[in-house]
């Protein structure tokens, strides 16, 4: 091997910046500069997914395991597509059809997958705090300590990638988040999307209100620094953006309202209500939509709605997150 005559120092002409954390477990663990870096990087990736060839080679040497212990359409496909666009290798794990049915624990499942030289785990789990738990446990195993974890939704805790794509979509539609008024409507109590959104919107300078029946809004939610409203019309008159949440029938065991019909009458958004509000509002929904319950078809498919833009932006935002996390190792 020919020795170098002079040791070359890398002279870099580009601005450099990194995320403050090596996992993405929740919005709570991030700083404002992290959110802004993710949103800026996501706009670069949005341009890439609109090119003829939508692939970049950055994550060529990275293997990602998508561990979904809970059902998902959007998040799972969005992550898979984001990983493929970054040229990463992917393995998909879903709880049904795996040894979880034989009683294998979460830690064992993760360790076994990581022993196969997987670098990043994207996990959705029905237990609140599962991602934080796993991140803490993996440090104790030498073959798994290198792993990075992205929380794709854990129980009723957080869904950070959803909050980030929501923030990106609002910024894209309205120019910025500073001073914007966002109301989150629906089952706040059981919603990880609501909690992550509350954290991220506030961090980025927006004002947040939650709206829903008293039975679905946690008792001390004002301590997060947000407004509470029980009248949907008043909430819509106040806001610039309305994020409609789905009624989670699979997660609730008690009945929090007399019937779905009564819920829609009070808290469902239809065209008549939307048209009667004096200003133009941006309508969002994380999906899947219960058409006719929290939102009617004519609103979901209207020009006010950015629901499908949210889905497109989801791929770009997840690409940004994967890129920035992988670059941190």
């Amino acid at each position: 091997m020919i020795p170098r005559i002079e040791k070359r120092k890398k002279i870099n002409l580009q601005q450099e910046q990194q995320l403050s954390s090596r996992h993405l477990l929740g919005i709570k663990g991030l700083q404002r500069s992290d959110l802004e870096l993710i949103l800026t990087t996501a706009s670069n990736f949005k341009e890439i997914i609109n090119r003829p060839i939508k692939k970049v080679p950055s994550l060529r040497d990275v293997t990602v395991a998508n561990m979904f212990f809970e059902n998902s359409t959007r998040t799972r496909l969005s992550f898979e597509l984001a990983e493929k666009r970054l040229s990463a290798d992917i393995i998909n794990f879903s709880a049904s059809g795996s040894s979880v049915s034989k009683g294998e624990t979460l830690i064992d499942t993760a360790n076994n997958i990581l022993a196969m030289k997987v670098d990043i785990i994207v996990m959705r789990h029905s237990s609140t705090g599962a991602a934080v738990f796993l991140a803490g446990q993996l440090k104790n195993y030498p073959s798994s300590a290198h792993a990075q974890i992205i929380n794709a939704g854990d129980g009723t805790h957080e869904h950070p990638t959803q909050a980030l794509l929501d923030a990106f979509s609002i910024k894209e539609k309205l120019g910025s988040l500073e001073g914007k008024k966002v109301v989150i409507v629906g089952d706040i109590m059981h919603s990880r999307v609501a909690l992550s959104n509350i954290f991220s919107l506030q961090m980025l300078g927006a004002e947040v209100m939650v709206c829903g029946p008293t039975t679905l809004i946690p008792k001390h939610v004002q301590s997060l620094g947000i407004k509470v409203e029980h009248n949907l019309r008043k909430a819509l008159e106040w806001c610039d953006v309305a994020n409609m949440l789905r009624i989670q029938l699979e997660r609730q065991s008690l009945k929090y309202f007399p019937s779905l019909r009564e819920y829609s009458m009070q808290y469902g958004l239809d065209k008549k209500l939307l048209d009667s509000v004096s200003k133009k509002i941006v309508i969002m929904h994380p999906g899947p939509i219960n058409r006719g319950v929290e939102i009617t078809s004519d609103v979901a498919d209207s020009e006010h709605s950015i629901i499908l833009d949210q889905v497109e932006n989801g791929v770009a935002v997840r690409m940004a997150i994967l890129y920035l996390l992988a670059g941190k190792s």
């Binding site: 040791k7 580009q14 450099e16 990194q18 970049v56």
Partner: protein, 182 residues
């Protein structure tokens, strides 16, 4: 050691002029030719050249794009910090066109290798030529060469070539700067 001025404002503009005439010599009407500046600093040169070409040929329809190569770099996950990507704007068709890639300084050649990969994401060009303002002759790490060169410089690794533009830095000039050895 002092900073040395490689090209002052007058010489810089004469060089850009000459490069434009070289391009016109080879590409004539620019009907099948497009110009792409490489981010982050090649875009100032490519914008200047684009403007000058329009002035000389009186053809306003010369396509000009800007290309960011951050995601095509070969040193991802090998550095302490992560480079921040800039914008890409290539709103015309590359397929079967002659592409002129423009960057301010050609040093190791790795940026241009990444740029070639990035261009392929937009289609298959007929050919690609490279135009640089400064060619740091003996520092290549990959087999890359420029087709149009402003001026060549033989600089050691502790020196840095800095290109300044009136629009961005207040003055047109090219400096050879002595940096502190790590």
């Amino acid at each position: 050691m002092e900073n040395k001025v490689l090209l002052d404002s007058e010489l810089l503009n004469i060089t850009i002029n000459r490069l434009c005439y070289q391009l016109i010599e080879n590409h004539h009407s620019f009907d099948y030719t497009v110009i792409i500046g490489v981010q982050p600093r090649g875009i100032y040169l490519s914008q200047r050249i684009h403007e000058r070409l329009i002035e000389i040929t009186q053809n306003k329809n010369i396509h000009h794009g800007i290309l960011d190569i951050t995601f095509y770099r070969d040193d991802f996950r090998r550095r302490d910090e992560l480079p921040v990507a800039s914008a890409t704007d290539v709103n015309f068709v590359i397929e079967d066109k002659n592409v002129i890639l423009i960057d301010d300084v050609l040093y190791t050649g790795r940026t241009i290798r990444a740029a070639l990969d990035a261009i392929l994401a937009f289609g298959r060009p007929r050919n690609v030529e490279l135009l640089v303002l400064i060619d740091r002759k003996f520092s290549r790490e990959l087999p890359v060469q420029a087709d149009y060169v402003g001026t060549s410089v033989d600089a050691i690794t502790s020196q840095k070539v800095k290109v300044k533009w009136k629009e961005h830095d207040g003055i047109d000039e090219v400096l050879l700067i002595q940096t502190k050895e790590k």
